[in-house]
Symmetry: C2
Subunit: 299 residues, 2 copies
């Protein structure tokens, strides 16, 4: 059925206690679209600078990702540098350079506008709303955000939440947005705004799906060697919406399986730097790991 | 098959952001034995003071717990006062009075010594070792501990770990004991000492079982209203060993089901103050919640 993904395309400099990579490809839209491409054809919307070369774009095109919605602007691409702590979970931002992303205005090619599935990755809620208003035949939209927008643009973000089917947040974001200490209460509070589902991302502890009278919880696959956690959440969301788009259904059984695919693909992402973990995998790897996750929770 | 549980018996003053209870019954041995009593007959070993009256003891006896191994000493019982923070997870200790527990020397009634299942709750590793040496026909022993003993009695604790079948620790304790940031690596390090299994307790995120080439992970039941988290870990361990004792088996399928029973019973514990959540439940409640947990992870 195909899907649209809107979000950042970037270069990241990533340092962990074990290694460092300079200016590797990153950004929510990049991770999510590569993850989704395992299931259905993503059509992406973003902006890049001169440093995002044809070779970079070809990585996406080789995965049958439609890049017609990517604008190339003069200047440098969005750049983020971060350093992970010894726990390989918490991190410090060293540098954020918005560059061409500062004036990002998502412009959807006409052919994108009738596509039924949409992932609004973390961008300014005003831009998320603009995309929502451009789409004509949406069947299922998921939406991510970050603490920054909750803090400075809560009203706009709330309007976006009212328009989407599923919100994907981590537990801290749910607490920040709702003021509820218990994330289950927080998730229900968000559902009251409109979204049928709330996904609670819990990093190494997995993910939960709350909504439509259902509560589903799945632990993360136990990755023995976490190399780079960057992009795990975006890979999760990309695989989730990719599987939903492929199946064309949003019933509880499909939603649960989509969460499991999200967990599965995210577990590959963290096994290598940047998108390298995503580039290595095929359908067989995904199916095998899904089977392992299923076995891991079966009693 | 019946089981032995050795640990603290106490009174706790518990304060949460929502309520306070003064000098309610507590202690690892109390929580664990009540939890285990849902499955098999616990025989407990502990020490109490004059304040632990016949009425208190009858709560245990009413649950068919053998209290012949409980010594009554002149003085007061172990007392702990703590205050939970707004998150209902982290807490501060206000007071710890060891009282009669300071000179606790576990003495096992002769009839206990041929019992095949044993839970060594958190006490001085030297006392845990003394109990191990008193038992003649052990089939399966689990062992808990705390950061204090890892810090000040690591050598003695290591000797205990070498003698038991399963170690139950939270992720911070695993990191502290092994120095490994990745708890999976930490768990394997502990297994190298001897224990066939390591259980990683993760509180609201559930529990994992690692060992014998198996990795099992189960999220916690989503408790909507956590009233008092005290005793959750001990209830978990009590139900776990209780189910194993009842089934008389330690194959992977039994171990997984035991983890699920541990999660189930612990979820009832946190729904009320002190042992009140445990006193309310019967086999039907446990079976119903087990079914809910199973459904929660099935895809």
């Amino acid at each position: 059925m195909s899907l649209v993904i809107v979000g950042s395309m970037a270069f990241d400099t990533i340092e962990t206690p074990f290694a460092k990579r300079e200016r590797v490809i990153g950004g929510a839209c990049v991770y999510a679209s590569l993850a989704a491409s395992n299931f259905d054809r993503p059509h992406i919307v973003g902006v890049v600078g001169d440093d995002f070369t044809g070779a970079h774009m070809n990585i996406l095109k080789d995965h049958k990702i439609d890049t017609d919605g990517v604008k190339k602007s003069p200047g440098k691409s969005f750049f983020w540098a971060g350093k992970y702590n010894q726990d390989m979970k918490t991190r410090e931002t060293i540098t954020t350079e918005l560059n061409v992303f500062e004036k990002f205005e998502p412009e959807l090619p006409e052919k994108y506008r009738d596509i039924p599935y949409l992932f609004l990755a973390n961008i300014d809620p005003a831009l998320q709303m603009k995309v929502l208003n451009s789409m004509r035949k949406l069947k299922f939209t998921i939406c991510d955000t970050m603490d920054l927008w909750i803090n400075i643009k809560k009203a706009g973000l709330t309007e976006v939440f009212k328009r989407v089917d599923c919100v994907v947040l981590n537990d801290e974001e749910i607490r920040l947005f709702t003021g509820k200490d218990n994330v289950l209460h927080g998730a229900k509070e968000i559902q009251k705004l409109g979204p049928k589902y709330v996904i609670i991302k819990k990093g190494e502890h997995g993910a939960c799906l709350s909504g439509q009278g259902m509560y589903f919880s799945l632990p993360s696959f136990p990755v023995e060697n976490v190399v780079d956690p960057t992009g795990a959440g975006d890979s999760f969301a990309g695989a989730f919406i990719g599987y939903i788009a492929k199946s064309g259904k949003t019933d509880p059984a499909t939603m649960k399986k989509a969460i499991a695919y999200g967990n599965t693909v995210a577990s590959f992402t963290v096994e290598d730097f940047s998108i390298d973990g995503l580039l290595k995998i095929g359908p067989k790897d995904i199916d095998n790991r899904m089977a392992e996750i299923k076995k891991m929770v079966t009693f």
